[in-house]
């Protein structure tokens, strides 16, 4: 079946905090309901966006700083979902996203990594990941190749 209609772009805005990511993901998946994504596609969307948003809550707006807005735009095109996430928190170190290499798991139990999986998952599952710092805002864009035409 060729998809001829696309979901209109929509926006989500949440304030950083412990449950901000859950709230944003619930609203995002709710907004995507008309696309009837299968469990694989919905899982990809939820996972990539969870990691992107967790990073913002943890690093852009750390607990010692004031809470701030996280704005998400989701646009649907023939090549998938184009997501933009904007926050006004701290910049990424070195002005770029982490490389996101796979964690080394060929190690002893005591050295087994408990973190460092987030950017690996984002870069493994998302396409065209770009990050820009502009006007004291972080702007992360990425594409998810789901709900293709």
């Amino acid at each position: 079946m060729t998809r001829t209609t696309f979901l209109p772009a929509f926006h989500i805005s949440v304030v950083s905090g412990r449950l901000a990511v859950r709230q944003a993901l619930a609203e995002l998946l709710d907004g995507l309901k008309p696309l009837a994504l299968d469990v694989e596609e919905a899982g990809t969307v939820e996972l990539v966006m969870a990691e992107a948003l967790n990073n913002i809550v943890e690093h852009a707006y750390p607990e010692t700083d004031a809470a701030g807005a996280i704005d998400i735009t989701c646009a649907h095109h023939a090549d998938g979902l184009h997501l933009t996430v904007i926050d006004s928190g701290r910049a990424m170190p070195d002005g770029q996203t982490p490389v996101g290499t796979a964690a080394d798991i060929e190690v002893d139990l005591c050295d087994m990594p408990e973190g460092g999986f987030g950017w690996f998952l984002i870069k493994d599952l998302a396409k065209d990941v770009t990050y820009k710092r502009h006007d004291a805002q972080n702007r992360l864009r990425l594409r998810l190749a789901v709900a293709l035409a």
């Binding site: 990511v21 996972l47 967790n54 798991i105 990594p113 408990e114 999986f117």
Partner: protein, 112 residues
Amino acid sequence: MDLRSRSQDSLQVVSVHDSRIDAAVAIEFKEAMRTATDNENDTVVLDLSEVQFIDSSGLGAIVAAMKQMGQSRKLALAGLTPTVEKVFRLTRMDSVFPVFATLDGALTELKH
């Protein structure tokens, strides 16, 4: 975080009665696992069949739970739903834990 623990066939089964193990509950999950596995059981089966979503923080908390059990004990995972399975597969953590499609399958395989 609602974890329920029971003994079955000389194994300890810890079932997660929550739909998400994510950044919001990762520390709570790790502490609940510490309490649940603070015993002499060699093998603990973590029943994830009710968990629909896990993120990298949740994954890290499960790794931490395995590490705090110590070298001589085993943490097996059972009942992975599709997105949970995806996270373990992509990070290759499915090669670190014994993974079983169902709790029954884990019990059959692991009981002494």
